[in-house]
């Protein structure tokens, strides 16, 4: 049965000229799991918001959205509230009350249930989602993942027929994100609830989805089963191909290199193209030939499928591999003064509290891109803050560019030496426009030129007159970076710079960082794939200290769980392939 039917939907925001949605036609069946993907600004969120009246934006709209045959605008409040669940991006802003139990009951109170019924339903939800342990807690004691799970549970308590999720995991760390997506899948499988979701981390959702809808510039450019859509995207050489899961990208990389020599470095050098706005009315058609269908059947979606595909591909004839490893230089010997040097830092937040840093040491060579990876709550961010003197460790030594931290005069450290890009770029903004934001950092006659120069470097020249809260997440990140770079630091500390960003934005971030010469970067991140691809040195942070340090390739090829999907997919065949490019290169050499 059709749950949603979208007929010729077009939409234009007030004041804007370009349509945000153009002629969308889509039918969603009961019980389907649909993933909508596309670059940011492609109209995914706008489309989702048309499915739920209270969040539908105001503007010029034509066409219809039908829910079980009734136009959504005509639905009565109660049906709309109970049957269409909507989970938003930011876990914090959706939570209204201060207690977990109250939040769970909120929707049910609205529907006017009596206390007995609510008690039962709340108990059911808490048990189903495993919330009972933190049932009485204050909301502000929860982690991001728990908050988002709470949002989900409090919506599910109303027993919706469809669950609409707008990038629900973008603010979560990878482990919480995969837990959340598992729960969504469980809801879909066990309760038959229809799922419509947008995601930029396709790794976690693609294999679970029944259909994938790809949007570009307000249009649906592809729609179908995950493998078909992957094929379409690859054939069209779409920008969205970069967002596919690693096994799919490797598959396409290897397959296409068999047909015609593929330039492997292409993806790395295509930063510019990632920003180009897709244009034109392209509509893919499903492949029809037998070979195409066969190939799309073969395409691996998950690491498991990827492993067996790789094995079939390379080992079917039983002959030994020509080459199973890539050359990798050793960790360079330390020469000269390190940019950052910290020895055995100990820190705790309160007198009675537990130690957060337990003898953490680090030495970051000048000019390197150094990444620290590790789980949530291990003290990574605390370590970063201790290094730049925001927190004062009670024991240990810190030297910045050879000089002890306390030898720097007040304010001197953050002028030309050190700067930190915070996890949430929004927390850096205090002004009404991006330009004023940047001007806050510079003084003197050349202020304007400095600002223009850095804006150009950070690709935000076209945003200078906008309010910093009105631009997209990736643009905010670049604005924050520009602001931080205006202090002309020689060392840049970054706290989770890729959080909530899609692949295009990550690539543009890297392209900006590459433009800066003589900059030492120390980054704390959850993003394994990002670190593997771009960092020079990677350290693992656990239990208040650095456990191990190595070059990115050695580090990740040495791990078996905490490593990239390309590595997990190929580790039974190749010794040290870490990124997709590595796997593709090695495959090409062996075929």
């Amino acid at each position: 049965m059709e749950l949603f039917e979208i007929r010729n939907l077009s939409f234009c925001y007030p004041v804007r000229e370009r349509e945000a949605l153009t002629d969308i036609n889509l039918t969603i069946e009961q019980g389907e799991y649909i993933t909508i993907c596309g670059k940011s600004g492609s109209g995914k969120t706008t489309l989702l918001r048309h499915l739920k009246p209270p969040v539908t934006p105001k503007g010029k709209k034509s066409g219809q959205v039908l829910f079980e045959g009734t136009p959504v605008e005509a639905l009565d409040l109660k049906t709309q509230a109970a049957h269409i669940g909507y989970v938003m991006q930011n876990p914090d802003n959706q939570i209204v009350t201060d207690k977990v139990w109250h939040e769970l009951a909120f929707g049910l109170e609205s529907l006017g249930y009596d206390t007995r019924t609510i008690r039962l339903k709340v108990a059911e939800m808490a048990s189903y989602f495993g919330i009972q342990d933190w049932f009485y807690k204050n909301v502000n004691e929860l982690s991001g993942g728990q908050k988002q799970l709470l949002n989900l549970a409090s919506i599910m308590a109303m027993q919706p027929k469809v669950l609409i999720c707008d990038e629900p995991t973008s603010q979560l760390d990878p482990i919480a994100a995969s837990d959340f997506l598992q729960t969504i899948k469980k809801i879909n499988l066990e309760l038959g609830t229809t799922i419509i979701m947008t995601e930029h981390r396709l790794e976690g959702v693609l294999h679970a989805s029944d259909r994938v809808v790809v949007m570009e510039a307000g249009k649906i450019i592809a729609c179908g089963a995950p493998r078909l859509v992957g094929d379409m995207l690859k054939k069209e050489n779409s920008d969205m191909a970069a967002a596919l899961p690693a096994p799919m990208r490797i598959y396409y990389g290897v397959e296409s290199s068999l047909e015609s020599p593929l330039i492997v470095g292409e993806e790395k050098s295509s930063f510019g193209s990632s920003l180009a706005v897709g244009e034109g009315k392209r509509r893919f058609e499903s492949p029809k030939t037998v070979e195409e269908e066969k190939s799309s059947f073969e395409c691996p979606l998950t690491v498991r499928e990827g492993r067996s595909w790789l094995e079939r591909k390379l080992k079917c004839e039983g002959k030994a591999l020509k080459k199973d490893r890539l050359d990798e230089p050793d960790l360079p010997e330390e020469t000269g003064k390190p940019a950052i040097y910290a020895k055995e830092l100990w820190y705790r937040y309160s007198k009675e509290g537990a130690d957060v840093l337990k003898g953490a040491s680090i030495s970051v060579p000048k000019g390197s891109f150094y990444a620290i990876v590790g789980g949530n709550g291990t003290g990574k961010s605390t370590f970063l803050r201790a290094i730049c003197g925001i927190l004062k460790p009670y024991s240990g030594k810190i030297k910045i560019e050879g000089t002890p931290l306390d030898k720097y005069k007040k304010g001197e450290l953050f002028q030309g030496h050190l700067a930190m890009l915070p996890q949430n770029p929004q927390s850096l903004f205090v002004k009404k426009t991006v330009r004023e934001e940047l001007l806050e950092m510079v003084h003197g006659s050349e202020a304007e030129q400095d600002v223009d120069a850095i804006a150009e470097k950070c690709l935000i020249s076209h945003l200078l007159d906008k309010h910093p809260f009105d631009i997209s997440g990736g643009e905010q990140q670049r604005t924050a970076l520009a602001k931080v770079l205006l202090t002309k630091p020689s060392i840049l500390l970054m706290d989770e710079p890729t959080k909530g960003m899609d692949n295009h934005f990550k690539q543009s971030l890297v392209s900006i960082l590459r433009k800066l010469e003589n900059l030492t970067i120390l980054m704390v991140s959850h993003d394994i794939e990002f670190c593997a691809k771009y960092a020079d040195i990677v350290s693992m942070f656990f239990d208040g200290g650095i456990i191990t340090t190595n070059t990115a390739r050695k580090f990740f090829s040495g791990n078996s769980f905490y490593t990239t999907s390309a590595n997990r997919m190929s580790r039974h065949i190749f010794v040290n392939a870490v990124t997709e490019e590595d796997v593709i290169t090695l495959c090409r050499e062996n075929l």
Binding site: N93, T97, F106, S110, M158, R385, I390, F414
Partner: protein, 308 residues
């Protein structure tokens, strides 16, 4: 079973009446009972720290009583003259003592109340009176903690670029604070838009909204209510029968204890000790059960026999 785990209405009734009784009764026996009971209960609830606090309170009672008798000279029984030549009377001294003790009992009961009443209970009780109020308090508390988190985040971010608190001159520091204030207001308003959307998405604008509470009123609550009401009734009866009456001016005239007065005293003491008594009885029961059943696994149950 702790007293604080009973229904909030019961907690409320107990503390309301106890405090009213403390304030109204001047009869030394009643004051003494209230003082001793609140002394014991506050130590039971708050532990060692409260002992020190309570003894400091006693010290204050003595000081107050001396001070009071020094400046008030009603009464007929002179003890001695102070250095100005005014009489220090036994009545004034005694009345001062009673007033001081009452105040101390009140403060100690208040400390007990703070320990028993969580914000949850206050919100619940407010919600009983005005159903919408409890939701708004809840929303307010939520946004309050959000603002605090925000403020901390902004401060740290600005410190990371050398523009934080204490990294600049005083004047630019003030400017800095104003900027932070303004952005936090913007931020909060921005959040409210999304929060209100989330409320609407979950049907906040529907009519006939109910107010859910996690508290249940069970048989054990009913039992305790009956005991509480019995104690309150007895105390009112005592007041009605002039048991609690006393005059200090011009001389101490009070209701002399007769045979059945002791029943009233006992019932008042029972009322005052009811919360502590239930807790102690439950602890004894638990210990006896543990002795009979042998040791249970550690961590399975807490000292009150509640499953963890």
């Amino acid at each position: 079973m702790k007293f604080e785990n009973y229904h909030p209405c019961i907690n409320f009734i107990y503390f309301l009446f106890f405090m009213v009784f403390i304030l109204c009764f001047n009869h030394p026996v009643y004051v003494a009972i209230a003082f001793l009971c609140s002394f014991a209960y506050s130590i039971k609830l708050n532990g060692k720290r409260e002992v020190i606090f309570n003894f400091i309170l006693v010290l204050f009672v003595v000081i107050y009583c001396l001070w009071y008798s020094y400046y008030n000279h009603f009464g007929l029984t002179n003890i001695r003259k102070n250095f100005i030549g005014n009489n220090i009377t036994a009545e004034a001294l005694f009345y001062g003592l009673v007033r001081g003790t009452k105040a101390a009992a009140f403060i100690m009961t208040f400390a007990c109340m703070l320990a028993v009443f969580s914000t949850d209970k206050v919100i619940y009780l407010a919600g009983r009176l005005f159903p919408k109020l409890s939701l708004f308090i809840s929303i307010f508390l939520r946004s309050f903690s959000r603002i605090r988190e925000r403020h901390a985040a902004v401060n740290i971010s600005r410190k990371g670029i050398g523009m934080g608190k204490g990294q600049s001159t005083i004047i630019s520091g003030i400017r800095n604070r104003l900027r932070i204030l303004s952005i936090i207001i913007t931020w909060t308003l921005e959040d409210y838009i999304e929060s209100s959307m989330s409320m609407k998405c979950r049907g906040y604008t529907l009519k006939h909204r109910t107010a859910f509470s996690i508290y249940r009123f069970d048989n054990r609550d009913r039992g305790l209510v009956i005991l509480l009401l019995a104690g309150i009734t007895m105390t009112f009866m005592a007041a009605w029968l002039n048991q609690t009456n006393i005059l200090y001016d011009p001389e101490i005239i009070m209701y002399r204890p007769k045979g059945w007065s002791y029943i009233f005293y006992l019932s008042y003491a029972c009322f005052c000790l009811l919360p502590m008594g239930t807790e102690i009885i439950n602890e004894i029961k638990y210990k006896r059960r543990q002795r009979l059943n042998g040791p249970t696994f550690r961590g399975e149950e807490n000292a009150y026999g509640e499953l963890l």
